[in-house]
Structure formats: structure tokens, C-alpha cells
Symmetry: none
Subunit: 197 residues, 4 copies
DNA sequence: ATATAACCGAGACGGTACGTCCAGTCTTTGA
DNA sequence: TCAAAGACTGGACGTACCGTCTCGGTTATAT
């Protein structure tokens, strides 16, 4: 009893799908997110525009999918677990800070975030496909810390992560200040203090 | 010996400036931020397109200015100060949460944030013109708490605010969850615990 | 030893053929000749596009066939023969003029003529399938007049018909003037005078 | 008190107008009328598509105008006048027949006629701009014949011309037969007989 | 009686062109 | 002497169809 409103995915050309996502990825890195047009993607992919419009609802969705395709297979990720929660988290946060300071990495991520802000469906997909696996890995590290007695067993792990990343995210997005290693350390220390028994 | 490259502001028509900003504001609320075009603003304001291009560098800048014009005069704001910091902050956070849940308010703010993300100059103006006065009011309340011995005297007030608002901001922007009053309270409690001596 | 390049007509689905021609006819009268697309015909007929492309070489051919199907069975037509050639021809010409003034009739015939102009094959078919039987009926009336001594026995009947209908056709196609009953009469009188002994 | 709905022609770019008409003419002769697209004209002319849409209502109108531009200045034409009407007309008709048999000339004229058939406005312009001057020259020759006593003074000259050209036009458009010199002569002889006293 | 070939509905595909919108620049004109 | 009005080139939009191409699912002979 399928709704069957959208076209039959069985007939979809895998070759075209791949070409489109590859073209989208290339174009984003070549001319920047804002200047990538459906027309350019279609031309680069050797595909009719209709083939894009048939399977994606918007430019944002295509490009988002091209990001997704990149991170596929990154499933079984895990955070370092040396037994020292604070040290491990600082390592991760410092790495993240470094990553976000790299201009080549920064531009598309900013664009992606701008898109997500205005498009609830994209936001949903972002959480489901991109954020969920990463968040689960983080929660797993926190659970390990709980088992080790380094964190109270009854805290809300998602809230913990929001405290850890929220300030970071805000500062980065609004360019409210530099993402220094010391800043990364502060976030970890303060968050731990907030949640420690 | 000024560089004097940009047009002489003295010659600027105040009537046109006002009409443009008013038109921009109206159009944003009528058709949504993303669909407002320079052309439409010019037509609505009864102004030549050139007059817009002469004074603003981008569509984002015009619309941002039209937001600014709204909040002018909101200078001398102050947060409630009953002597109970936690209660006062919770009041403010709950009000903010309610405000951000109002769709009429939400849409343009989301659009503004999306624009800020990708445009450093806009971000700079945002901090300087919009965020600064509000942040100063918040800091003033915290200083009052420090004087009352409710907060250690040596903490970084900006970091405190980042902890208070960062999680909130992230959750709202990415639609990571509902902004309930309880959530608002949690943010206050946890932030206070992180910074309390 | 037939060439047998084209598909075997024996396997052709009569049901589809009829549905296509019916759909074409309906669409022409609904949206006008120029706006009828193969895709629309196929959809309306509940038929795959390929089925149309298999049996007809062009859009014009399909629609032309749908016209043909209408006039099938109009074989044994005959012109009135009261013995008075001029009167009979005037009757016919006036009727034709009235017919061509009817907008419902006019539009598709104009479109058909436009198509014929640019497509020699369609022109051939037009003469063979549509014009021939009608012309033969007209010639028969003229032969009857020859037998009655109202027309010289050696005149070129086709040329006679060209004189009778040529001015009419030109005036109608190029909208060079109104097709009044008096005009119809003039054509008959002048043509008769040109060919009378 | 002008209606002033359409754009002010005073602001029209003469350079663009010329480039568009030239491009249209070139493309018609290069790829044939049917395959000339607005897009191609714009590209060839180095002009935005909007500039074409601003000043012409349809593709047909542009191309028609490009024909018009060709025949501008062909105002003061005159038919031969040796004193022998029949001979002069035969000369003209034979020349016309030869002209219409030339494929290079034929194709665009066919296309033009097809367009005129379906577009009343184009038909109106055709009569006013293209046919009128030529017809006037023909009528002038006939009036000369009337003064010379070779034609009755009270005949309808337009009707005369319809008889002369109608059969010709019909035969050519529908490919009803060859346009031989003998055929041309017959048209002249029969028309003269029809209208002679 | 069954394979096997063609036809069939369906519709995805690479493309071309449509007619519209808007960006950002350039030109004319009226106050 | 401005600035409004708006025409200009150019690029992209999202849509409509083109004609070709599979895809399974019937027929309908031709073994």
C-alpha cells in the first residue's frame, strides 16, 4: 500500500546519481556553495536538468546529499578512550577547533549550516544522517566515563553534549571569537564541572 | 585627508533611505527573506535600483539595515534584578524561548542568522550594532551578581554568556529539540553550577 | 520479397490506434493545434510515447491522420445538379464560404494548411486522401455541364477549379477580405466567363 | 493621452534592434525557419533574451520583422509597361513562377505563409507592410491598361489580382502542380478573358 | 504447447528551448 | 545635477516536450 507519489526509485539511474553528486561536490569546492547552480551541476554531470529535479526537491538537497555521500562508511567511528575523560574530550575539542579553522573545510560547512537553518527537512536529515552517528560515538564515550565513575550515572548525555558544543558552535557561526586550544579546554572543564556530582 | 572613495553621504536622500528600509522590512514579512529582491525593494520604495546599489554593497546589507532600523532606540535596556540571579536568568531565558517559538518572529531571525554565517562583514555589524548592547545589559546583571557575592568575581562573563546561550542557540538553529521552560531552567542551573566557586 | 523495414502492421493494436487518433482530435479542439504535444496525446490515449513514434513519423502526421479518420466514409459525395451550372456552383461556393467563416471549423483547417505548406509528404497525402474525392465530385459536376453544353468540352477542368477556388483560398488564408455570398457569386461568374467558349 | 502600456520606444536601443533582426535573418537562412529559436537569435545578436521579449510578442513577429527590414526601401517599384498588358503580365507571372521554384527563396516564404495563416496580427502586418506596396504597383499597371482601353474602366482591380494570383498561390502552397511558364501564361489569358468586356 | 519475438504502457534519460526573474551596469530624462 | 525610471547583457530558474532508451508484462504467431 505504498503512497507512490514520487517516481519509482527502481528505475533510477545509479550512474546519473553518482555523476550528479560528484559534480555537486566538485563545484562546491571550485566556486563555492552559493555560486553552484543546478544548471552547472547538470552540465558537469552530463545529465539533463530534469533528472536532478526528478529526484531532489531543491539545490540545497542535492548538495547536502553530496556531503552525505562523502561521510558514508564513517559509521563505526569511536572517540579516544584513555580512561581520562577530561583529557580525551580536550583532545577531541582541540581537533575540532583546528578543523573549523581550516578555510577549505570551513566554507562548505558554513554554507551547509546556513541551508539547514532555513530548511526544516534538511535539518531533519542532518540530524538523522550526519549528526546521529557522531553523537552516538560521543555518548558512548560518556557512558564509558559513567561506568568508570567519572560522571554521575543519571545525567542527560545529550544536554551534556549541548553544553560542550553549543558555545563552540555559536562562537564559530557568529564569529564571536577565536577557537583557540585554551578555549576548547575551557569548554571541557566547565562542562565537566557543571555535570560532575 | 580622507580617502573619500565612497559617495558623499551628505548628498544622500534621507527620504529614499527611509523608503528603501521600509520597503525591505515590509517585503521580508510579506514574502520571506529569501524571496526579497533588490528589484522588488526598489519598485516598492519608488526608487531606482541604482540608488540602492549606490549605498549598500549587497541585498543582505540592505535587509540587515532594515532590521537595525527597527531596534534603534532600544539602547538603555536592562535585565530584571530582584537579587536572585538564578530566578532572574530563568525569567529571561524562558521569555527568550517563548519568543523564539513564535513563527512570525522566528522566520526573519533565522534568515538573518543564515546571512550572518556566510558574510563576515554582516557578522561584524551584527555583533557591533545588535548583540553588543544586549550583551552589555546581560553582563551588567552578572556584575551585579558578582557584587552580591552570587558569582565569583574573577570569571569570564562572556564565557558565562556563551554557556548560557550557546546550547540554546544551537538547539534552536538546528532544530535539535524543543525550547521548553524546563530546558531554559536547566541551562541556567547548569551554567551557574559550572561557574559557581 | 518485400522490404519489410517498417514494423509489421499485423501486430498493430487497433485499440491503441483508435485511442491515439481520438485523443489527438480531442486535444486539437481543446487546446488548439499548435499546443498539442505527442506527450499529451500519449497520456490522453493511455498509450506509451513509443507506440506513437512507432507508427507515425511526426506530430503533424498523427494529427493529419486524426482528421482523415473523421472524413472517412464521405466517399460517395456529389454536388447538386439542377441543370443550372452557375446556380449550383454559387450554392456550393456560398456554403463553403459560410463554413470557412465558422471559427470552430476554421482553426483546425488553418492549422492543417499551415502544416501542409511546410511538409511535402503531408501535402501529398492531403491531395490523395482529402482533396481527391472532393475534386472528383466537382469535376463530375463540370463534366455533366459539358454534356449539357454549358461548358466547352475541351477545357482543363482542374484549371477551372483552380480559378474557382484559388482566389477564395488565398483570401481566406491571408485574411485578405471577407468571404461574402456576393464574393462567392463573383468567383463563379468570372470563372464561367473565363472558360465559356 | 497615450495608453503607454508597452515600454517607451524612445528608450529603445537601435543597436540591439538591428543586431536582433540581422541575427534572425542569418539564422533563418542557415538552419531554416522552423529551427530558429529566440535563444539562438539572442545569442547570435549578443543580446539578452528579455530584450527580444520586451519588443516582440512572438518568435514569428521577430522573424517577420527581419523580413520586413529586408524589403524596406523597395517602395517605388513599378511593373513593366510596354503597352501590351497581356505580354507584360505574362513576363511578371513567369518571373514570379521562376522565383517561387528557387528552393533558397521558397523555404522562408513558405514558413512565412504558414505563420501568417495562424496569426491574424501577422496577416495584418503582411498586408500592410509587404503586400500593399506591391499590390499598388500592380494596380497602377492595370489602371494604365484601363486608360489604354485594354481593360474595362469599371472592373474591381483587386478582384482581378486575386484571379491572377489566387490559383498560382494555391497551387504553390499545396504543391498542387508545377509552376510552368505555360501555366503562368494561362493564368494571364484566362484572367483577362474573365474581365475583358 | 511453448518459446520467442514484437508490441504494449510506462516513464527515466540527455537535451533544447521556453518565458520569467533578477543581478548589476548603463543611459535617458524630468525636476 | 541629481535621482527616478527603466533598458541593457547575462545567467539561472523551473517547466514542457523532444525523441531515445530500457523495463516488465502481455499477445500471437511459428516452430
Amino acid at each position: 500500500m505504498p503512497a507512490a507519489k514520487s517516481p519509482d526509485p527502481a528505475r533510477r539511474s545509479e550512474r546519473s546519481r553518482r555523476a550528479i553528486l560528484a559534480a555537486a561536490r566538485e563545484l562546491v569546492s571550485e566556486v563555492g556553495y552559493a555560486k553552484v547552480s543546478i544548471e552547472a551541476i547538470a552540465a558537469r554531470a552530463g545529465v539533463g536538468k530534469q533528472t536532478i529535479y526528478r529526484w531532489w526537491p531543491s539545490r540545497g538537497a542535492v548538495i547536502f546529499d553530496s556531503f552525505l555521500a562523502l561521510s558514508e562508511g564513517a559509521e563505526g567511528m569511536a572517540l579516544p578512550d584513555t580512561g581520562d575523560l577530561a583529557a580525551d574530550l580536550k583532545l577531541v575539542m582541540r581537533a575540532t577547533a583546528a578543523e573549523f579553522a581550516d578555510p577549505a573545510f570551513e566554507a562548505p560547512i558554513r554554507a551547509l549550516n546556513a541551508e539547514i537553518i532555513n530548511d526544516p527537512e534538511l535539518a531533519r536529515q542532518y540530524h538523522e544522517k550526519l549528526a546521529a552517528p557522531v553523537d552516538e560515538a560521543k555518548r558512548e564515550r560518556l557512558r564509558s566515563a559513567q561506568r568508570a565513575g567519572q560522571l554521575p550515572p543519571d545525567i542527560d548525555l545529550d544536554l551534556f553534549l549541548e553544553f560542550l558544543y553549543g558555545p563552540f558552535y555559536q562562537r564559530w557561526l557568529t564569529r564571536g571569537g577565536p577557537l583557540t586550544p585554551e578555549y576548547a579546554d575551557s569548554l571541557v572543564d566547565l562542562t565537566l564541572r557543571a555535570f560532575r556530582a
